[in-house]
């Protein structure tokens, strides 16, 4: 009796263990082996990028292929005329088309999140220091079946129209499928720009630098004089004359669309900045009020410095003598 029971327990235990092993090793591994991407393009040109991808599966699965790009919002990559993504692979014939995943579509295993939010949460900002970047995700138009013991390569071709803006950005890419989402790291592949690399668009206008810490930024990056804008001074980025300043003030000049020069460079409550600690300072201003604009005046841009309480110590762009600049415009 005892002998029989013991045998039964043993086989049950092996069935459980066997099942667990099966669970652990079932996977659809997707990796970006390498990418081909230029170091820079001219503003307004098409950026061509190639992703060399490997897919290893040991389960039968039918899914759509997902490719996502991490790009500056100014490129408006989600507009169909701006981005084209296709791929070829060992298991398909001819270039396979892909289409933008409609806004709001829940990602698989994403707890209701859409793909851009899911990608941002899981993979992050790729090292971009300004907030107006976005993940833009595409599904293949067709679903494909892979069977257990699939091992094949694919080449993804990405064509993106850049905007005319002068910018430095850390591009990123992700591949996944419509069944697994980003549920575990062996089910998707990501490529983020290495630490010291930065993609450049040689364009026009103020440089939008996502890569390097900035002495000063203004948020939102796109605004008009009737917005409330946040002027930031990060004295922690480099040693400046304001290193030990007990109080920092904004010294700004508004230039109107008709060429009026309106300086507000006084050290009063109007321009007094708030300390965020660690040599970082911040001031929220309403330009129409700060520069006392009349109904017919509109600001084209701002030129500004940061000063100490005496106004004598002044920090400008690149810690130099020229001012920081900000242009009032919407996207």
């Amino acid at each position: 009796m005892k002998h029989k029971l013991f045998k039964k327990d043993r086989s049950t235990i092996w069935k459980i263990v066997g099942g667990l092993i099966l669970l652990i090793i079932v996977s659809c591994q997707m990796t970006i082996d390498s990418i081909v991407q230029p170091a820079s393009v001219n503003g307004g040109d098409i950026l061509s990028v190639t992703l060399n991808v490997k897919i290893i599966s040991n389960q039968d699965q039918t899914s759509r292929f997902m490719v996502a790009v991490l790009v500056p919002k100014v490129w408006k990559a989600s507009q169909p005329q701006n981005t084209t993504i296709t791929f070829v692979s060992d298991i398909t014939t001819g270039p396979q088309p892909m289409t933008l995943i409609p806004t709001g579509t829940a990602a698989p295993n994403g707890n209701g999140l859409d793909w851009p939010t899911y990608l941002n949460n899981k993979i992050g900002n790729g090292g971009n220091r300004l907030s107006d970047y976005e993940w833009v995700a595409f599904y293949s138009n067709s679903a494909y079946t892979v069977n257990s013991s699939s091992n094949f390569g694919a080449t993804v071709s990405i064509q993106m129209k850049t905007s005319p803006d002068n910018l430095l950005f850390k591009l990123g890419y992700c591949i996944a499928n419509s069944s697994d989402g980003l549920s575990s790291s062996d089910r998707y592949g990501a490529y983020l720009a290495p630490t010291n690399s930065c993609f450049q668009v040689i364009g026009t206008g103020d440089l939008i630098d996502f890569c390097n810490p900035q002495l000063s930024t203004i948020d939102p990056r796109n605004s008009l004089d009737n917005d409330i804008i946040t002027v930031n001074f990060d004295g922690g980025v480099a040693s400046t004359d304001l290193d030990n300043a007990a109080q920092v003030y904004l010294c700004a000049t508004g230039i109107t669309t008709t060429g009026d020069i309106l300086p507000v460079c006084v050290q009063t409550d109007k321009t007094k900045m708030t300390s965020l600690g660690l040599n970082r300072w911040q001031k929220d201003i309403w330009p129409r009020s700060l520069f006392n604009l009349n109904a017919n005046q509109h600001l084209a841009r701002l030129e500004y410095y940061f000063t100490d309480a005496s106004g004598n110590k002044k920090v400008g762009y690149g810690n130099g003598s020229g001012p920081f600049t900000y242009t009032f415009k919407c996207q």
Binding site: P220, N222, S223, L224, D225, N226, D227, I228, T230, T274, Q282, D284, W286, R288, S289, C330, Q331
Partner: protein
């Protein structure tokens, strides 16, 4: 037997008269009243809370029967006085401001009661349309 029958008949008659038709009064939704002076108790820009970072404290918007007026202007849905309307006075979803000298601006409206106090929540873009501001207004004392 006759007594029992009589009892039942009497009970039946009483029963009939006991039931009175209930006149249902359809409850009517009260017209939303915004008359008075309102101040900003919370302000966000693109989700960032600016309430304590920028001085909104002096701002007032006064609503009367059909007009509004603004004191101590801050970035707002409109910057001149004029007329206001709800899309529906009983069930408002939108609040419209029509300054005397320019086109009307309309905001989606939230009108919750929070801690026993009526709030008005409006959403608008005073500058670039991609910058979204949300103000929570409460009656000023």
């Amino acid at each position: 037997m006759k007594k029992i029958l009589l009892f039942f008949v009497l009970a039946l008659i009483t029963g009939f008269y006991a039931c009175k038709p209930e006149r249902l009064i359809v409850p009517s939704e009260p017209v939303k009243n915004v008359a008075g002076s309102w101040q900003i108790i919370k302000a966000t820009r693109n989700g960032t809370d600016l309430t304590t970072r920028f001085d909104f404290s002096h701002f007032r918007v006064q609503f009367s029967d059909s007009s509004y007026s603004i004191d101590s202007l801050v970035p707002f849905i409109v910057n001149k006085n004029g007329k206001w309307t709800f899309d529906n006075p009983n069930y408002p979803f939108f609040l419209s401001f029509k300054p005397t000298d320019s086109a009307a601006k309309t905001s989606q409206l939230l009108y919750p009661v929070v801690n026993g106090q009526r709030n008005i929540i409006i959403t608008f873009s005073p500058g670039c349309s991609l910058n979204s501001y949300q103000y929570t207004l409460q009656k000023a004392n």
